[in-house]
């Protein structure tokens, strides 16, 4: 729970954001064409005001793709990309589902989730440490939003530096970290302690979103039945192969997911280095696979986003292909998202309810639809409504 609450007028907040934009990189929602993206802005006036969420989660700012991990010259030794400290970023306007997703990614890349703090991911952690999160509570969620049913929103207790809620007049600010407290100290002259009336208004607005979700939305991330079926391995192969038939293997669900973290690492000639693969084999045997260059020159080790739904994710040379069918890969994905085993390991579901996979899935197997299928597999599909008497 946040330790302090303040109120700022709309003009005061704009002034704070303008000052932050002047000294750091301010990233917030902007509209490009019909879509909303998180992009750097020069001043607060450039921020988009009427948006639900960006289609792409903010993870691209923490896990850029491609990202150089190392660089080397052949023949010779290895050189590390030296000393380019990431920029100080301030995010304004990211939603609670993404804050929760980022918190999950941070626990994962710090090694905490797998009990290995000794192998924290340096590049990710460096960026995360230089980021300030000013999240904004969502009050008009999309039809696909499900944060309410998996502790992903609409408001959070932790994970942000400031959590802002728009009120009839001005903003309520909750402070969630030492970094947030520093900001409040610094901008004390623009802030006033939140009054009872403002706290009550915020509570009412959040309760309204929750109530509206329960009353109107048919989408749910998980049910007890779904968790039971997937965790105990009780869903038959036919269940997964039917899902596999719907999946077009685009990987979209993973790329727009705020919690998905899988990546690929490849070594390749550095762009512009002039190194070309030998004649006859410029293309890798499988997409994303290695290419033997055997040449001299400058190479880089790059990290690319990957998805467990893509063919080849676990394919090995030598003929072993553990999850050769799309259905088996669907099982892995939804097991990771919904199983009790991963909840025990990670502490939360692998979903924060942002609903993006529902929006992008071409096969109609967003997480809510799959969860519903799992529930139906245990309790049976709901009976069709009985025909009206005398009809």
């Amino acid at each position: 729970m946040s330790d302090a609450r303040y109120w700022a007028s709309a003009a005061a907040l704009e002034g704070i954001l303008d000052r932050l934009a002047a000294e750091r990189t301010l990233i917030g929602p902007v509209r490009r064409g019909g879509d909303v993206y998180f992009r750097p802005v020069q001043r607060a006036a450039d921020l988009c005001r009427d948006y639900v969420n960006a289609l792409e989660p903010p993870k691209r700012w923490f896990l850029p793709t491609p990202e150089r991990l190392a660089r080397y010259r052949l023949p010779g030794g290895v050189s590390v990309p030296g000393g380019d400290t990431p920029r100080e970023l301030v995010f304004f306007g990211i939603r609670s589902c993404d804050v929760a997703g980022l918190a999950q990614l941070t626990r994962f890349f710090s090694g905490e989730t797998v009990g290995r703090p000794d192998v924290a991911d340096g590049p990710f952690m460096a960026r995360r440490e230089r980021t300030t999160i000013l999240s904004v509570v969502c009050q008009d969620p999309a039809e696909t939003c499900m944060c309410v049913c998996c502790k992903g929103g609409p408001a959070l207790d932790a994970g942000y530096d400031w959590q802002l809620t728009a009120l009839t007049s001005g903003w309520l600010i909750e402070v969630g970290s030492a970094k947030g407290r520093e900001l409040t100290t610094r901008f004390a002259s623009s802030l006033a302690p939140a009054g009872e009336r403002q706290l009550a208004e915020q509570a009412g607005r959040i309760a309204g979103v929750v109530e509206s979700f329960h009353r109107h939305s048919t989408r749910r991330v998980q049910s007890m039945a779904a968790g039971r079926m997937v965790s105990q391995g009780r869903l038959p192969e036919a269940f997964w192969s039917a899902l596999g038939e719907r999946c077009v293997e685009c990987g979209g669900c993973a790329f727009v997911c705020p919690t998905c973290n899988c990546f690929n690492v490849v070594d390749a000639p550095e762009a512009g280095s002039g190194v070309l693969p030998p004649a006859g084999g410029p293309e890798p045997a499988v997409p994303g696979g290695p290419v033997a260059t055997g040449a001299e020159g400058t190479f880089e080790r790059i990290r690319l986003r990957d998805s467990c739904q893509l063919a080849g994710f676990v394919r090995q040379y030598g003929g072993s292909y553990p999850r050769a069918t799309c259905g088996e890969r669907c099982r892995t994905r939804f097991f990771h998202k919904l199983s009790w085993q991963f909840v025990a390991r990670v502490g939360t579901l692998g979903c924060t309810g942002c609903g993006r996979c529902v929006q992008v899935c071409l096969g109609g197997i967003g997480i809510d639809a799959v969860s519903q299928r799992m529930t139906d597999a245990l309790v049976g599909a709901p009976a069709a409504a009985p025909a009206a008497k005398g009809a």
Partner: protein, 296 residues
């Protein structure tokens, strides 16, 4: 010598290979188009201050191509070279197999858990290596031989598709002198196979050798590695037919990996990361995972 189970990395160099020099290259298996046999070599590396425990693996870089996980095939805690036995299976392993003494390759690690030999003190050790699967076991039985008195019988079963693919045959006499009982099998015999009597041999799957190995179930720990089908069937047979305790049947899994530190997600089996929770798993653990997804 005490070795940290988990290597401690400077966060900035987590994905950066360190260059190491190849001291020697020994050809274990020659390529043979007729039998579909692929070339296998053992690279002896200048290990520097790199230390490890039996069963751990390295992420090995062929500079200019990329990185693959390779088990370590020599005992840790000792001076001397670090051995990697590699089969020419793909682009990167092909480049590694083609390397020569004096070349530089990259390594990261060691990664993963290990075979804890202390837990098997006083017991018989049964090593079952199918094909290239003997490579990760070699460091383990070698380590056991360094403290030979701590264990009862040490039996090594090694099988392959054809006689030419058997590994480390140049060391067999040496092993036997140190009290290792060796039995070998080949799925298909060749002309010489039947004429040689030593070591004891049979034609067929490696599991046929179980009957010859005089296994005492109550006091035997088994270490298996090989193709998935061998681990599945061999493990089941040792547990169900010979009555070994499932937690005493240990195996090491192979998965595609990109990081080695539980981040890239490629090696996940059910809820385990093979790179940090494994690669060593007991038959008991794999059977439990198998309820959701076959882990072998």
């Amino acid at each position: 010598m005490a070795v940290a189970t988990h290597p401690v990395h400077d966060a900035s160099d987590l994905y950066v290979p360190r260059p190491v020099r190849i001291l020697r290259v020994r050809e274990e298996v020659a390529a043979d188009v007729a039998t579909g046999t692929k070339r296998v070599v053992t690279l002896d590396l200048d290990r520097g201050d790199l230390d490890y425990l039996p069963g751990q693996f390295l992420q090995v870089t062929a500079f200019g191509a990329g990185e693959v996980p390779i088990s370590i095939s020599s005992p840790g805690g000792l001076p001397g070279a670090l051995s990697l036995t590699i089969r020419d299976n793909g682009v990167i392993s092909g480049m590694l197999v083609a390397s020569k003494a004096g070349d530089t390759i990259g390594v990261r690690g060691p990664f993963g858990n290990h075979f804890d030999l202390d837990a098997h003190r006083g017991r018989d050790l049964l090593f079952v290596g199918g094909g290239i699967g003997l490579a990760p076991l070699r460091g383990v039985y070698w380590q056991a031989l360094l403290r030979r008195g701590d264990f009862g019988r040490i039996v090594l079963l090694h099988g392959s598709r054809c006689p030419g693919e058997l590994l480390y045959s140049w060391q067999w006499t040496d092993y036997e002198r140190q009290g290792v009982e060796i039995l070998v099998s080949a799925d298909r015999a060749d002309d010489c196979w039947a004429h040689e009597e030593h070591p004891k041999r049979c034609v067929g799957l490696i599991t046929k050798l179980f009957d010859e190995a005089r296994i005492a179930p109550g006091r035997t720990s088994a270490f298996l590695c090989g193709p998935p089908i061998m681990i599945e069937n061999g493990g089941r047979e040792l547990v169900q037919r010979f009555g070994l305790a499932p937690e005493r049947v240990l195996t090491t899994c192979e998965r595609h990996m990109k990081c080695g530190v539980g981040k890239c997600g490629h090696c996940v089996v059910v809820d385990r990361y093979v790179c940090i929770d494994g690669p060593v798993f007991s038959y008991e653990e794999l059977a439990a995972l198998g309820a959701i997804e076959p882990a072998w």
